[in-house]
Amino acid sequence: MDFALSEEQEMLKKMAREFLERACTESLVREVERGDKGYSPELWRKIAELGWTGMVFPEKYGGTESSLLDMAVLYEEMGRAMFASPHLSTVILCGLLILETGSEQQKAELLPKIAKGDLVLALALTELDPSWDASGVTTRATPNKGAYIISGTKLFVHDAHVADRLLCVTRTRDSAEPADGVTLFLVDARSPGLSYTLLKTMVGDNKQCEVVFDKVRVPAENMVGQLHKGWAPAASAIQRGAVMLCAEMAGAGQRVLELTLDYAKTRVQFDQPIGVHQHVQEHCIQLLASVDSSRWVTYQAAWKLSQDLPGDMEVAMAKAWTNEANEHACWRAHQVFGGVGYTSEIGVLPIYSRRGRAAQSYLGDTAYWRKKVAGGIDGWVLEMPKGKPMGFWQ
């Protein structure tokens, strides 16, 4: 057990903190929120130069083989800085999926571009009745003369409107087991038959789209992984993405805690800082507890995935817990800030609040992951001692 970051991770954290504090200012965050893209292409270019878009890939694809744990460190800082970008979509969700499942040709073509910041990808997964399980995939891909024809509607697709390609999760076969018959395709974002509508959500950045596939033709070689066997890699991608969202929420929570403590210590009412009151202290303690606990469940999950250890339970617990902790943390902060925290123009709490809620529902909400935890529990076996019975309980 070691709860400290490695020296390299500390450096990465420090570098990311300094860079984002300088580059991702509150005014930029607000500008991105108001804009159409959901991110700043200039900043995207800069983080690519810093290596953030490729570091998680092997060297031959332009990366440095950073671990998911390293990425969690980075995502904590991005969450803290309210940094919005297609990094999750491009690198974590699609990039790592391609690395894991794609053909050598796909990897060689796409990963270096991602690493250089030249390619934006989006994962087209959820639909009108959104689900993070295979049963939710109804968008059809039908074989047709060496190609596949995709038809269906995807909803809540992050970054689709700025993506170069979509990684589309389709159904190619009906079967009793929903995971059987799911296939992944890389779709050129400018393919005929594809249309995008930006969704009006509570968050200005992290843009999401409705994407309609109307008989979109995709060459068969654009299939990622095997026919009908696409769900397992998609599920792995969801896991990795969920852990990164946890790290983002934990980093955001840490900043919210700092802001709240600062306000509690400096805001004077009734001639004293409001932090002297136990009611306010209670809010601060709950905030600390929420934020601190989120970090450890998150890091444990990231560590498990980094080590290739079985981590289904740890990931499920991390997202289930961090979702709730994030909601709780933001609510506690709002109680301390009162009207001041409610005003969008003063301070950043409202931004954390809205972004937090969006992150909670993305890649599995609490109910979803808690069901996974319950599924894990089903397999628990009760070990019993072996000594001779003594009849304590008669």
């Binding site: 959104p130 009006k200 409610y342």
Partner: protein, 394 residues
């Protein structure tokens, strides 16, 4: 004990109900109870509705007839408010009828009453409340906006914040400092000044929920001495005395119930994982919990209204739990509704996929700050010290 209403009360309820049902548009949802999107058409409609209700005498139903009221008792006023709440409605000039009007009624001169009250009761004017300042939030006595007597005038200088949503108020109800005293409460005075005086300016403050609050600036504003309400330097006490009733607001549980009814309808109509939400046992349990909490709050609110009506017999109000319940339940209810909506919950008004036209999202955002009338923490101090007579820290 009696948990029903008299025949006369039921008749009044039906009159108000029928009036609203016939006036409200079919595609109405939660008009101007602080959750309306900004929309001039909507604002004009609500003013017109207020004027029509004024003709019926329901705006200030409790006031004596000579000032435009109907002289109704507490229970009947409660019924009017409850029927408004049933449609998530409130009069735009809530400040006039519920906050400042009662202060004029209690502490104003006969001239002031005759001048100010009838237009309020007739629904023809809009008032705004200007109490809060950057350094006077929960600590209301810390007000620094100054009113200095100068001949037949008072001269106002300073700033007010978090003022309600009225676009073009006719009068401003102000708590201002008229003397530097210890304790600070003893140097405050109430005023009701025309909003169009020279030197008054304002700017909008955007809020988390998309609502707009306003900031007001007073720069050598001269108002005639007749604008003073009640005695000089007694403003804090008079404001408290006349505010008491705002704390129990029967409209809230009624509008909460309406929200729940709409949400239940949504759960009946919406399928998730191929099954209507209403058939999900966890959703059912959550809805039942909400229904119970709303009923608990309804009873607490009526108990307060009844108890206020019995003050002559039983002395001043002993305790009021309705505000406490409202704040507690609203937070958990909004969160539970957001949880049930999942990804769709983040969609806001204007999106074709937004559940209930984004109404729940707006409520949830609003619930981040349930502070009108003092923070929950102050409310608890009042409950502890006044209602339960718990000792104060030395």
């Amino acid at each position: 004990m009696n948990f029903g209403f008299t025949e006369g009360q039921e008749k009044l309820r039906k009159e108000v109900h029928d009036f609203i049902v016939n006036e409200l548009p079919e595609d109405y949802r939660g008009v101007f109870f602080g959750v309306t999107p900004h929309n001039e058409e909507c604002a004009a409609f609500s003013k017109e509705l207020q004027r029509k209700a004024g003709e019926k005498g329901w705006i200030a139903a409790g006031w004596p007839k000579e000032y435009g009221g109907l002289g109704l008792g507490e229970m009947e006023r409660g019924i009017v408010r409850e029927e408004l709440g049933r449609w998530v409605l409130n009069w735009p000039n809530y400040v006039g009828s519920e906050i400042a009007g009662p202060a004029v009624l209690m502490f104003g001169t006969e001239e002031q009453k005759k001048k100010f009250l009838p237009p309020v009761a007739q629904g023809k004017v809009q008032w705004d409340q200007l109490f809060t300042e950057p350094n006077a939030g929960s600590d209301e006595a810390n007000i620094q906006l100054r009113a200095v007597a100068d001949g037949d005038y008072f001269v106002f200088n300073g700033q007010k914040m978090f003022v309600g949503e009225i676009y073009e108020p006719d009068y401003l109800y102000i708590l201002a400092r008229t003397a530097d005293t210890t304790p600070k409460h003893r140097g405050l005075t109430l005023f009701l000044v025309p909003a169009n005086l020279s030197g008054i300016s304002s700017r909008p403050l955007e809020c988390l929920s998309g609502q707009t609050k306003r900031e007001f600036f007073f720069d050598d504003v001269r108002a005639s001495k007749e604008c003073m309400i009640g005695e000089l330097n007694r403003g804090f006490y008079n404001a408290m005395a006349s505010l008491q009733l705002e704390r129990s607001f029967l409209g809230n549980p009624a509008s909460d119930k309406r929200d729940l009814e709409e949400f239940i309808q949504y759960c009946k109509e919406t399928k998730r994982n191929g099954k209507p939400l209403i058939e999900n046992p966890e959703v059912r349990d959550a809805l039942a919990r909400m229904a119970v909490e709303i009923e608990v709050n309804r009873l607490a609110s009526w108990r307060t209204v009844w108890r206020v009506g019995e003050q002559e017999k039983m002395g001043p109000l002993d305790y009021d739990l309705s505000t406490f319940f409202r704040r507690t339940f609203t937070t958990s209810r909004c969160k539970a509704m957001m949880d049930i909506m999942g990804l769709h919950g983040q969609l806001r008004t204007g999106s074709k996929w937004a559940p209930l036209a984004g109404a729940v999202l707006r409520k949830w955002l609003r619930a981040r700050s349930l502070h009108a009338g003092g923070t929950t923490e102050i409310l608890k101090v009042v409950l502890a010290e006044r209602s339960l007579s718990l000792p104060r820290k030395r």
